[in-house]
Symmetry: C2
Amino acid sequence: MSYKAPIDDLKFALKVHANLDDLLSIPKFNKLDQYTVSAILEESARFTEGVWGESNRKGDINGAQFKNGTSENDESLKAAYDAFREAGWNSLRVPEEYGGQGIPTAISSACEEMWYAGNVALSLLPLLTNGAVAAINAHASQELKDKFLPKMCTSTWSGTMNLTEPQAGSDLAQVVTKAVPLDDGTYALTGQKIFITWGEHEFNENIIHLILARLPDAPEGTRGISLFIVPKFWVNDDGSLGERNKVELVSIEHKMGIHGSPTCVLQYNGAKGYLVGKPHHGLAYMFTMMNHARLGVGIEGHAIAEAAFQHARNYANERVQGRDITSKDRKSVTIIHHPDVRRMLLVQKAILEAQRALYLETGFYLDMISHHPDKEEREKSLMVVEFMIPIIKAYLTENSVTLTNLAMQVFGGMGYIEETGAAQYVRDARITPIYEGTTGIQAMDSIGRKTAKNGGLIAQEILKNSKTLLPLLIKADAKKLAALLEEAILLAEDAVKYIVTSYQGGQIAEAAAGSVAYLMQMSTTLGAVAMAKAYLAAINSLNNPKEESLSPDFYKNKLKTVEVYFHYILPDIHKYHRQLKSGGESIINIPIESI
Amino acid sequence: MSYKAPIDDLKFALKVHANLDDLLSIPKFNKLDQYTVSAILEESARFTEGVWGESNRKGDINGAQFKNGTSENDESLKAAYDAFREAGWNSLRVPEEYGGQGIPTAISSACEEMWYAGNVALSLLPLLTNGAVAAINAHASQELKDKFLPKMCTSTWSGTMNLTEPQAGSDLAQVVTKAVPLDDGTYALTGQKIFITWGEHEFNENIIHLILARLPDAPEGTRGISLFIVPKFWVNDDGSLGERNKVELVSIEHKMGIHGSPTCVLQYNGAKGYLVGKPHHGLAYMFTMMNHARLGVGIEGHAIAEAAFQHARNYANERVQGRDITSKDRKSVTIIHHPDVRRMLLVQKAILEAQRALYLETGFYLDMISHHPDKEEREKSLMVVEFMIPIIKAYLTENSVTLTNLAMQVFGGMGYIEETGAAQYVRDARITPIYEGTTGIQAMDSIGRKTAKNGGLIAQEILKNSKTLLPLLIKADAKKLAALLEEAILLAEDAVKYIVTSYQGGQIAEAAAGSVAYLMQMSTTLGAVAMAKAYLAAINSLNNPKEESLSPDFYKNKLKTVEVYFHYILPDIHKYHRQLKSGGESIINIPIESI
């Protein structure tokens, strides 16, 4: 485990992109200060680099196994999880009324980046628990909240999400699990759920399952799905645990990666549970949590890539092979001297810095939705978040696959050997563009609900605002960057117009065939906008060294990484823009039976 | 195992891109005819779709294990390999004087595509054997040839290549394995070799190791390396097997993929062997085989992607999920109806067709190097092959990673489950851009020896020749394709000039940092050239239906897939060209310690 939390990068990004000063001036957060934020980040780093990260390889090697009706997991994971609970890390994200610290999403997201980077498979356990906490807190009765939340918030109990069934993956309209009302006001649930992360294990004394199911009178489709709570052990009125519920672990999947986390098939055989909120509103309740969940998976993808990058950089600085092509010296050098190895590392570094900016900025707006004193600002923030979520989810997770593969490539043949650890990052990363809505689903959300539906107004507004950076770049003597950014913004505006016009003209299939290209073009452009902002902030810091806590070298490096982003990453938009504008049509022209 | 050999595609590509008619008119091959070629392809398909392909999953699940000093392999692999030997498939590629059929490389390559697609891990065993056969045949004395080749050519014995050592990966100058002359004219070899594919196993009664090592008086670096033969069992003068040689299996690597093939660490403890050819010429001997070996790995990458594509297409035609966005009908449909799923499949299909054209065309020129009656044509063919080899190796293997990942994405969550089989293709493909020279090494070869060294003449010649397609496209009423192709050729010509100028100006590091972009730009452009050729051939066939054996639908589909290539794949060049021309500099500007 060679991962070191990128504290300086996180501090910089929190300040520049998550507008930390503004954030801490919001009444809800004004008991926090810069000092506390730094302390949280540094303590989280220490924790991650210790017991948490150290269990990562072991969890992969000794993956979760089906044994005696439960999941057997590596002991080191249990130790790491216990330490997580004891240190109270879970409280960072839970509601204050249940003992949480109520810190901004932007800051907890920065800590999450570390935990995911350190051990993604184990991170999923508290992640799912917090998702369940949020759903119960938002939609369940006070009685149910009081029954379940206190123990879930302290990670004494864990939580799960049971959505998928064999015939109902992305298409939840197909859910058939049944919930039959019982005389005592509870329900009996019957059906099979698959892909349940940490669905059964013995790290917690109880597991609280959230389940989508249909009542007997439910209408067909998505409007007939309700949300239920089914505890693994029944919880008596005095809080003590009662009998084992009728939910059975059928099997644990053999996955390509995240071996440390048991992905379960659960069979509900008349298991007893509670209805959450109103009947038939289950899917709507799930959707209210979607922004947070998709942001989380985006960060997950980003974090795995950061860990893989550091691993590759360490190797490139150690491995001696070949000679320096620019020198007459015939001495062997470390491979980081080779220009293509530097290219591979810097592509990772530049994209990672842009991604960190994007997710922390989105985290800031997520906080503004709930906590900005001004209603108009709250509404505007919601629009920005809604637009950004498919971008964060898709861009950071597709990049996770690309970047972890690049990191592995740095290792050459050694990268293919599992003991080196590079392959685990590739395998772990591979799930991120799939779960919580595939890239294709994010892209459809982006062109449809987030672009065409509002006539492209949000997208155009974001792009228009970005143009304020152009004169600032010119003033900072970065004319080339300004020209490249302007070109990118104009092409992005044209892409938005194309999507809106396609929808208006009924060419939805063509637009859909180009939807991933659109999403990637927007992502890459907004990455450049973020990097331009970082460039200006770095220039400003270099000009005002007294106010800064980071070293001048940090800012100088930032300027150079921005150049790499503009000259090596941003060119992607020219591909995407062409794919969008004529590629979609060429695809739709081919009949399905000819593929 | 859902793989079906793409016979029609192979026949078309052999005719159009490997110039089958010209090939068969070469004196050396004129005993072959179209009928025989078809029969070979069809028989190879039957074999691959049978016992060969059926062992693929089993070989992955029951990967090679170290046991009692040897490798234990799944029984199904042994059965498939025995069937391969008994059917005489090995003879397709061995020299005629040892019972081989001496058929053209282009045609044997088409069969290899099938075998790799069916079971890449097992294919490596005959692949390595044939590599060893070629090296011995080209460089060893008649006595050694007579001793080893007859049994190797029938796959009675297998062969290996021992190049890599822990400190000598891509940098073979670092090889330290020692060879000490003995009184009887043989040598005692001592040292450790790693990454030896099928280095130890019991599928053959003997294994013939080819080893790079240093004689006591050897100069340092690459000019002090000699090539040796060390048989696992000593071969007596009467051909019977003697005592076990002092070569020991130390361990079998745990790899991300190709689990069916044992990747061995071999320890030579004074093992007895023969010198091949002259002392200190070992590396040069290895280089003579490089074109074939790199073509082979390119085909390997391509073939795995073809198998993954077919697997994904089958799933997309079966899996019901979601509704047709272009229809008011609310009925559920198979996912191939979704435009983004079609996009994923057609990107694979278009690239695979271009790749098949490229490798078969290169195979044709490889045959011309040895067999064209005209010396000037032989020399010209060598230049073309030398230019194309890094392109085939890098483009087909980098695409292998991208395309197998796209295939997996079609499966959604099911793709991440190993039982589905999609993940195996991703894992197996991942080694191809690494071994036999990483993509970075191919790119350095491409910009240096294959471009700058000859002043860009070969590249410009190839591009110039491609322009003859432009008026033909216009005549065929494909003006848009002609315009796109012309633009691509002009940008490629500019890229060549940039490389040549950079070398002349001493900006080698900048060029090297953009070398992969250059290689990919050339590959994508030449892919478009090949697709344009296919387009014209298809038009021609549609206009002259009587002469054709393939159905009109085949040609009609071809026209449409070419459109996808031009509108969805070719746009990549705009990214690569910008990366090359300004990206390299931005990378070199960052000091190593700041990465």
